[in-house]
């Protein structure tokens, strides 16, 4: 689930009836070579965003601690932590099932009765291994991102409520 980044800032969108031709012609031509610099730049940018979220969470946590933590606040915090733990356990259960499936597939190599079939099976085993690692890493990072956003959102709501209470 992503966005139409290629059309970001396209002024033709201010008149959508003119959008089509303008936005299509405005598309940069795809490159025919890899650009490792783009990958590195994107990774650095995303890590930068992650770092910013982390540091603002640390600062907001300090503020909340200074304003005081009541029983309700601790309860909500524990609830977030417990939910994250629960989802991690569910992910681990899914991963286990996926690896069991992979081992079972790999174990059927004896059924490869031609060289072509053998090569195909070996290739599938490697591809499945790689795919499993990729999707599992993505889901783990997704959970980590979820926890980070949830905590940050919760902090901002809590701080706003505490500040309102102080003013009143």
């Amino acid at each position: 689930m992503r966005r139409l980044t290629g059309r970001k800032g396209d002024p033709s969108m201010s008149n959508p009836s003119l959008t089509v031709a303008a936005s299509v012609t405005a598309q940069p031509q795809p490159r025919t070579h890899l650009a490792p610099v783009d990958h590195a730049e994107k990774a650095i940018a995303l890590q930068g965003e992650w770092g910013k979220r982390l540091s603002s969470n640390v600062a907001a946590t300090a503020q909340l601690l200074m304003l005081g933590m009541d029983r309700e606040t601790w309860g909500e915090l524990l609830e977030i932590g417990a939910s994250a733990q629960e989802r991690l356990a569910a992910l681990q259960q899914t991963w286990l099932q996926q690896w069991v499936g992979w081992v079972q597939y790999a174990d059927q190599i004896k059924g490869a009765n031609t060289m072509a079939k053998f090569a195909d099976r070996e290739s599938n085993i490697a591809a499945q291994w790689s795919q499993l690692l990729g999707t599992q890493a993505a889901s783990l990072i997704g959970l980590e991102e979820n926890l980070e956003v949830a905590y940050s959102y919760w902090l901002s709501e809590k701080l706003a409520a505490k500040k309102r209470a102080l003013i009143e």
């Binding site: 139409l4 980044t5 290629g6 979820n146 959102y153």
Partner: protein, 353 residues
Amino acid sequence: MANPTTLPSFKVSPNQHSISGLSSGAFMTVQLHLAHSSLFAGAGIIAGGPYRCVESFRDPSLEAEDAYTLNALYICMTPLTPGTGPKAGFLAGLARSTAAAGKIDPIRNLADDRLYIFTGTKDTVVNSPVVQATRDFYLNLGVPASQILFINNRPAGHSILTSNIEDSDEDANQPPYINYGGFMQSHAILDQIYPGLKPPSQQLSGELIRFEQAPFAGGDAASVSMAKFGYAYIPDAVRQGATARGVHIALHGCKQGYSYVNFANGLADIANQPPYGNRYITTTGYNHKADSNDLIVLFPQATGDDTNKAQNPDGCWDWWGYTAANPKEPDYYSKDAVQIRAIYNMLERLCGG
């Protein structure tokens, strides 16, 4: 089915239309319902969140569009706790200010609408607290509780439920997101919106029309993530000149458009295209219920693309701003939003007879 054609016009009762959808189609249902509430008698929302949900929390990223995506994923779909999910009161306020700015119809139009809102207890894609917030959102905007049928006790996964035994198990959370539940959820939706409807037809009498969507979407549907064709079911009596009770707009969810192709490792898997095709249009029961009740059903279609031109690989409707010209001021929720305007144009055409 007729060959690709232009969408015809019929005689239709005014302002008695309705809309329903699943998942991204449900988020879009809420947006369309709010944007044009003067036209609608009610809405059906299966696994969808409240209006402008992705604008709940702007802080997660400096880039506006990244912040909206993070909101969509982690606040509006899978919040860790109800407290980290959407806040109905805040979003109702946002809806009121949007109406005050004239970007959507007045909120007072919602007061006499009837709603069907559903969340399955096994839904891992859009969690139940999000859908509960949708109910609270409508209550906050003045829809009486007696007009809302809220169901949150069935062990259903992320899906529209049907009585087709070949569909996935009820608790499944996988494409095509059409699960067997022992009943047609589309019928329950229409019965809630229009009390006293006749039972569904056993045999369809009418015609399923295929039409080009581009004329309704500013000339090029693909540029706004809409598919080449949309569909409409026209009951025979309406074709013969009877006045239709209204138009029901049925919005599919992600990975459910007729042209959806799975992306495997970033590439369109055209060699193994799953045979979903027009299942949402022909097997979810809308047409049989519409047939016996002189309702036209409009099935607009979104499409996917996993490039920087249109990073919407699952063919979802826009509820997080991916069609925005200016990501800092996304316009996916108002009468002027490109997809909302396209669907409105289709509705206007259908009712032009």
